[in-house]
């Protein structure tokens, strides 16, 4: 029983912590973000398994976590608003060529990040070539270029 409770408590706790850390925290991870992620994973593992290293415990834990994930995705599908609260919504950062600076500040993204996303798949060189830049729910910035 304890394994299930441990699993669920940690699942909810981690979800909350990463949700309030903001979208950009672990997206586009730098080397340091990667190290941070490894440390968090290791710490969480200890809290999840405790001293019980049995196969049964691991098995119960894995099933609990997967079931929690499935339940959550079903809930998100059924209650649209719940999904929006949990995952966030896409946010327009650059609207019809105009940079929305107050939003950039709020989501901790700067113009360099937008330019980086503009260069990567699209090969754009300047901000004025971008029509829309959108911060997606997963923290990725998508770029829609201006029509020539």
């Amino acid at each position: 029983m304890e394994t299930v409770i441990r699993g669920l408590v940690l699942y909810v706790l981690l979800m909350l912590i990463f949700r309030v850390s903001g979208k950009r925290t672990l997206y586009d991870a730098t080397v340091f973000d990667f190290v941070l992620l490894l440390i968090i994973a290791e710490t969480a593992e200890q809290a999840l398994v405790g001293e019980d290293q049995s196969m049964t415990n691991s098995f119960v834990l894995i099933i609990t976590l997967l079931l929690a994930d499935i339940t959550l995705s079903l809930l998100k599908q059924k209650f649209n608003y719940f999904g929006k609260v949990l995952d966030g919504v896409p946010i327009i950062l650059l609207d019809d060529g105009k940079v929305l600076h107050d939003r950039l500040k709020k989501v901790r993204v700067d113009e360099a990040d937008i330019l980086e996303s503009a260069r990567d798949p699209q090969g754009l060189q300047r901000l004025d070539q971008i029509k829309y830049a959108i911060l997606e729910k997963d923290g990725k910035i998508t770029i829609i270029p201006k029509e020539k």
Partner: protein, 167 residues
């Protein structure tokens, strides 16, 4: 799906996102408070100042108990007892309430007691007397959670101490 400026199909909800940004800022403050509380010793494992130490009794009166105010379940901890030997007796008895062995796992006792026995009130550790005050250290791991009231007594003195165990 809503259309932004008649062309971009996007499910943007700036009201919800603004609320989310506010909630994020509040959560960051809470996270900072957790770290400050941990530094001050509210989560155990040491801390600034003397807040994390829990003491009861007085060594000059013959019995003093010291442990951490906040313990963590499964994390090793120490429980220190300073005792004065009972006069004239060849041994000194230290009696602890039932909670002590039911909610805490005693890994080691230094010095080793000559005899240990349980009874209705709890558990008694009997130490061979050395005719001068001595310290007993219990190395233990908490098994339970929450407040654990402990009653510790010798032949002439009784003290109570209530550490808190985090999950």
């Amino acid at each position: 799906m809503k259309k932004h400026k008649g062309e971009l199909e996007i499910d943007e909800d700036i009201k919800l996102e603004s609320a989310n940004w506010k909630a994020q800022r509040v959560a960051w403050v809470l996270m900072a408070l957790v770290v400050i509380a941990a530094l001050l010793g509210f989560t155990g494992n040491g801390g600034i100042g003397d807040l994390h130490r829990l003491k009861a009794g007085n060594s000059t009166e013959g019995l003093e108990v010291e442990c951490e105010r906040f313990l963590r379940r499964g994390a090793p901890s120490e429980f220190k007892v300073q005792l004065a030997p009972s006069s004239g007796d060849s041994h000194t008895d230290l009696q602890l309430s039932k909670n002590f062995y039911e909610k805490l796992e005693v890994d080691k006792v230094v010095p080793e007691p000559s005899e240990v026995f349980t009874h209705e009130q709890g558990i008694t550790y009997r130490f061979a007397s050395v005719n001068q005050p001595f310290t007993v250290i219990f190395y233990l791991k908490p098994k339970a959670m929450g407040s654990v009231p402990l009653h510790i007594s010798t032949a002439g003195k009784k003290v109570n101490i209530t550490p808190f165990i985090y999950p």
